[in-house]
Subunit: 371 residues, 2 copies
Amino acid sequence: MGKDVTVAVGLGERAYDILIGPGLIARAGAEISSRLPGIRTAIITDENVAPFHLEALKAGFEAAGIASSVVILPAGEKTKSFAALQEVVDAILAARLERGDAVIALGGGVIGDLAGFAAGIVRRGMSLIQMPTSLLAQVDSSVGGKTGINSARGKNLIGVFHQPKLVLADTAVLDTLPAREFRAGYAEIAKYGLIDQPDFFAWLEKNWQEVFSGGAARIEAIAQSCRAKADVVARDEFETSDRALLNLGHTFGHALEAAVAYDGARLVHGEGVAIGMALAHRFSVRMNLASPDDAERVEAHLKAVGLPWRMADIPGKLPDADALLAFITQDKKVSRGALTFILTQGVGQSFVARDVPPSQVLAFLKENHPG
Amino acid sequence: MGKDVTVAVGLGERAYDILIGPGLIARAGAEISSRLPGIRTAIITDENVAPFHLEALKAGFEAAGIASSVVILPAGEKTKSFAALQEVVDAILAARLERGDAVIALGGGVIGDLAGFAAGIVRRGMSLIQMPTSLLAQVDSSVGGKTGINSARGKNLIGVFHQPKLVLADTAVLDTLPAREFRAGYAEIAKYGLIDQPDFFAWLEKNWQEVFSGGAARIEAIAQSCRAKADVVARDEFETSDRALLNLGHTFGHALEAAVAYDGARLVHGEGVAIGMALAHRFSVRMNLASPDDAERVEAHLKAVGLPWRMADIPGKLPDADALLAFITQDKKVSRGALTFILTQGVGQSFVARDVPPSQVLAFLKENHPG
Ligand SMILES: NC(=O)c1ccc[n+]([C@@H]2O[C@H](COP(=O)([O-])OP(=O)(O)OC[C@H]3O[C@@H](n4cnc5c(N)ncnc54)[C@H](O)[C@@H]3O)[C@@H](O)[C@H]2O)c1
Ligand SMILES: NC(=O)c1ccc[n+]([C@@H]2O[C@H](COP(=O)([O-])OP(=O)(O)OC[C@H]3O[C@@H](n4cnc5c(N)ncnc54)[C@H](O)[C@@H]3O)[C@@H](O)[C@H]2O)c1
Ligand SMILES: [Zn+2]
Ligand SMILES: [Zn+2]
């Protein structure tokens, strides 16, 4: 029975709490029935998460008298599709849930994005409870209300903003998460430090081992990340301005993910972000914005935790620099010719640069390309 | 070149104008480029509307320098499906439209609901311009931001609230609308009078012929309907309370539509609403809420304009009263046993009744069933 940390997301009428602590899956029934009495639910989860964690959740629901039906989907990014969306929507309607009833997203970011989208469109918006089970989902995707699926024309192009009523992040379930997925999620934690919290980054440099092993530092790192994300989301719920800072490392990262055709065996999202953050710092040094010490410090930390930090760390051959630039210019964060990047003046001093010349990016990619 | 009437929808940050007048399709390019300069578009329409009105729209767009791509879908309710949604979404993405670009819904309520939903989910919300071409769409579905598609489990169960940036209602295009569809849309106009505008209903009783023939009274009737709907929507954008009044005639109407399995040859939506409104008044008389004179007045007007007004006017055999009640209790507007109906104390004096005993409804249906 851990003492949970609560982070409040200040969105006025749409405000909600994030509870963070061990054992929350088993306690979810009690938490939900005290906050949303009389609610009925549909639990959406995937084939990797269900065998480990579904029974505990259902047992707690039964004890609390919460009715639930369950949909178990294949794991992986392919599940963020129109076909899976329709399946989830049908299941929710088949269970005859009403607007005030809740969709429960039990899984990583894939399940959170998909089930969140379904909750956003059934009866034009039902209640949603995020129960993130991957580290990435706990520190990033479950907070902020972005939901959606992929299109053949690009990732995350279809969706809605739909805030949850509650986020329950059980920090103990991370023990069943594959180590590689844990590290990938950790990249997003480090990101919050690098954006605008140099002290948090320094704290991570000291305490990362306990974050990985699962002590109090893990809860604290997740809570601090949720606070950082909640803060940005409260300032810019619909992603029209400030929220762009959260894309630190993501412009390079997305290009690399696209370059390996989203082959998770070669590169998962958080790994792309890790390399992207290192490149963003190096690129900032090249643009005379940051000092080489900053870039080295970032690279050293990523290396220490076992994350890839340069393009050469990606197994297999990469497309050449011109092709990588083409992936960057196709990315959403391009507006009329000039490139938008999140650059930095040093650890914890990132900013949005809206006028980066593509020629500079290309030269930089050539210099850093593994060949 | 008619003088347009403008109705403002007061939704704060999401406020927009409805322009109503003849020839607006040809003038749309000019109206849009002056209000939303630099915008690119995808026009969504159907196979009945395109042959009559697409060329004029495109010519005006070209003259105004507005780029557009076009999707033409089969006409009819079946088009409000996941498959058609995916087709529209793909076409919008294929045209590489960005968040600020616009989806143009050129058609009746089916196209408006479908294209509006697509605009609501591509890139988590793009601009939307409603160009309603049916009378029902001009006075009802194009205003207020409800969008969506049907599920095998019920109509309009999947969708989002997504307000348009502009509504352009060309009153001249109604001349190509089949007469039966015009009458069906007229039922929704009469509805606004019956909800809370006795003077408007009296005005319709005098002027309906000019509304049908297309003079200034048509523009005025449409404008007054839009004002009425805009007013309700501004008070209750997300349909949590007042907006329920707009369902006058719809509880009985939906049950009848379901009872004929949505066979438009037997009953289209507006006809169901006409019968439903007459029944709501008769039922109110039976409940000692309204006087028989009120019910007779409503029936006489519906009869005068050529609308059906009693169950016996539906061709073919209807399910019995018990089956009709079952359709009503399946309807969305049921909450935990008691039935919610829009009832009335007389012409223009409707109210939400949340505690209608199903036994009374059943008895009433038996009395009025054609057998
Ligand atoms: N909505 C947002 O704001 C946002 C932000 C960032 C990322 N995302 C999205 O999130 C997705 C990535 O999230 P992810 O990394 O969690 O991916 P994921 O959901 O695919 O989870 C990663 C893998 O871990 C498994 N898993 C999850 N929890 C587990 C547990 N406790 N035990 C064992 N296995 C477990 C999953 O089955 C999967 O195989 C992407 O689709 C991305 O676009 C969304
Ligand atoms: N979103 C809302 O708030 C709301 C409100 C009411 C109704 N609706 C929806 O609207 C739909 C009904 O709308 P509708 O009655 O316009 O149906 P519709 O779109 O099917 O149009 C009726 C018929 O008229 C044709 N048509 C339309 N304009 C024409 C024109 N100018 N010339 C020739 N033919 C034309 C169409 O092709 C169709 O065959 C239903 O799906 C209903 O659920 C939505
Ligand atoms: Zn990320
Ligand atoms: Zn209607």
